[in-house]
Symmetry: C2
Subunit: 434 residues, 2 copies
């Protein structure tokens, strides 16, 4: 069948969806050239409140509907773009679109992280493709790297800065010696952090994205709840000061590794060497370092969010889907998840640690601490006493350990808290060599 | 037609081709899973000398031939991998394979840089696809970024470290204060530089790669001879010392920009801010920074050469071609080059400059220099006098200019050389803010 256009429907009219609609209109000539025929926006499903947006008037009210049924039965929609975010009703919308035999492009990390495996299967069954490049890393091309470019590799590790809000906060804390709460407030003012910042600062958003990347990299379903996550709110300016003195930067990293069929996946603050590339990724930028057995290290860097970069990824997926539609290609390359792999519990991971303790400033305390650690096979790489407080007769001590088991360290923390000479275990941050 | 395998033929048995053959064999199970059926190596075309290689015995002599005709008429080859490099006979081989209706995967930057446009056209005419991800940046996914991921963007600039040999040499020179010639000799011993290093150190290899990237990014044919190239052999340890003092790193960059339909493309050493990401790309690693109007900056980093990374890119292309073969997809997405764009002559580019001069150590010389520059609308941003030599009564002066036209600077250089107080124009290096 000779086609003279490919039709697009958009769910939502938030900043992402609005920008996607704008690009489809403003670059219609260029995009038609890339696809081979015009991409025509047929319908946009919005909420009643959206109807008062200037964009609705600008683009013509006939394009918009608040009615699900009208949207899904509109004729000539080959590709559905979902940019409403969140789990529901996005899941139901995607399910319907795929079941109706429409290609789907989404920027929704939550729904893909939680339901990606079933949605991909549904797409396969209906001879269409579910594309979600924009769900992780905004404009940074990532998803297709695992599906195409790195396909010959055994992926060994992923180390990712994939939350711009936290990276902005950490960059400011490192640069200014400022406190977490004051920097967060500033980030909220600037629109870099939401009014309810929990998803970002507690590592939940990063865990969603890591679930998506890990499932792709290791060909197994890794669900967000399989991923340990710890946020950045416990980091203090003191930690940044010591990190700098010791030659480290502090980043919130999403880390996944596989060895011998066992997968580990976790999100938490990490000390990384200050001369590593990831340490140089500042502000709202994101970066993903992938280790493959053939490619060694590859790193992808860019803006991980924002309407313009995200629209770039959405449109790339739309163009790709439209090329398939035009060429009459039914279905995508089958993407098979292998059998479920063992997810290593957090207690079994092994890493080095930075430990900051407030102790009584008298002889013998370090020996007690060393014993508590040594009893659990945790060796000290370096220990530095800092900031003696003459009046309170306390001092701060900073310890970097050799690699040890997480459960050993957790047990040691309990013991340290019970030592009479230890006033407070002020912070524990994991250390990665990269 | 139901297929039970996809056949591959390889031209060459050098380090890349040998590694590709090894991956096809050692990962046959994984690759069959990705493709949907086995990838079968049917024939390898080698030179007579290659027949004594251990790999020939290991893989079975029946797979190998020294005869072109036998290779091209071997039954069951769907995909031809070319990894012999160089312009000829690679061009003739690719032309024949495409004309015969075979998909082609190549790692050959020279043949693509010089003949890419005609080969892509030939592939189109024959309903097959020419893939060349491995031709630039080894294992770093780059080519497909322009064809797919960045398709909605207007590309504004490319800044690339795409020659590992020169980046290794520059990294060592910066780190050790060593001379060019001694570091080159060491790089040759380590196999990082060839016995005849001209292609690398003079920027010719980088110009080939930039021609490929520029053609993709700006949808126009840019040929290697359109690209100004200047190598690294004139850099001295003195330049690195001053760069460091001034807060810069020195890199050999391949730079391309487009504005108002005019394209500039050039390869030469550049001073870049030491805190920029590209400044942190050391040793044999490569990195490509792309500026697009939607994505802002994205950067791709990894090993730009070597058999393992390059085989990763070749196999990715082979898998992609095989998926098309298996799904019965004829031809690729048409890749149209737009009308030829104007290539800006080097004399019209505008950039800042670092200028190192050996001058007579007496009053008034700087004023002469400033006048020679000022007469040509070149403003001085900073000027520092260095290293006075009491005996010779000379001094070194280092100048950083504001952006100026290349032709103005070249004219100024002529004038500076004629000034009685200027003993030598020791070096001129362009400066990019990034």
């Amino acid at each position: 069948m000779e086609r003279d256009s490919v039709g697009v429907g958009i769910l939502g009219l938030g900043v992402i969806a609005g920008q996607v609609a704008r690009v489809l209109r403003d670059r219609s000539g260029v995009l038609a050239g890339r696809v081979g025929c015009p991409l025509v926006l047929r319908k946009v499903k919005v909420l009643p409140d959206d109807l008062s947006r200037p964009q609705v008037k600008e683009m013509g009210a006939h394009l918009f509907t608040t009615d699900d049924e009208e949207f899904f039965t509109s004729p000539g929609i080959d590709i559905v773009v979902e940019a409403i975010g969140g789990e529901h009703p996005a899941l139901e919308y995607l399910t319907r679109a795929l079941s109706d035999g429409k290609h789907v492009v989404t920027s929704n990390k939550e729904v893909i992280a939680k339901h990606g495996a079933e949605l991909l299967k549904l797409a396969d069954q209906n001879g269409v493709v579910l594309r979600y490049e924009a769900s992780v890393g905004g404009g940074i091309p990532l998803i297709s790297r695992f599906r195409y470019d790195l396909v010959a590799n055994r992926i060994e590790g992923i180390y990712a800065i994939i939350n711009g809000t936290t990276n902005y906060i950490l960059t400011r804390m490192a640069g200014e010696g400022a406190d977490f709460s004051s920097v967060l407030a500033r980030a909220q003012d600037l629109g870099y952090a939401e009014a309810n910042p929990e998803n970002d600062i507690e590592g939940i958003d990063a865990a969603y994205k890591l679930a998506i990347l890990t499932s792709l990299a290791f060909h197994t379903e890794v669900r967000p709840e399989d991923i340990y996550h710890e946020g950045i709110s416990r980091l203090s300016s003191r930690d940044f000061q010591y990190a700098r003195e010791l030659g480290f930067a502090i980043k919130l990293l999403a880390i996944a590794k596989e060895s011998d069929g066992v997968v580990e996946a976790r999100v938490h603050p990490v000390f990384i060497p200050e001369d590593s590339l990831l340490a140089k990724v500042n502000g709202v930028y994101n970066a993903v370092l992938v280790e493959g057995d053939l490619v060694d290290k590859v790193l992808f860097f860019g803006q991980g969010a924002g309407p313009l970069p995200t629209s770039s990824a959405v449109i790339a997926d739309v163009v790709s889907a439209a090329q398939d539609v035009l060429r009459g290609i039914s279905g995508g390359v089958r993407w098979e998840l292998g059998p479920g792999k063992v997810i290593k519990p957090m207690s079994d991971i092994e890493t080095s640690y930075y430990l900051r303790l407030n102790i009584a400033d008298r002889p013998g305390i370090l020996a007690q601490i060393a014993k508590a650690l040594g009893d659990r096979q945790i060796s000290i790489s370096s220990a530095i006493q800092k900031l003696a407080d003459r009046v309170a007769q306390t001092a701060e001590i900073v310890i970097i350990t050799y690699p040890a088991l997480e459960k050993s360290m957790q047990s040691a923390l309990g013991e340290l808290g019970r030592l009479s000479g230890v006033k407070e275990v002020s912070n524990l941050v994991r250390v990665e060599a990269l």
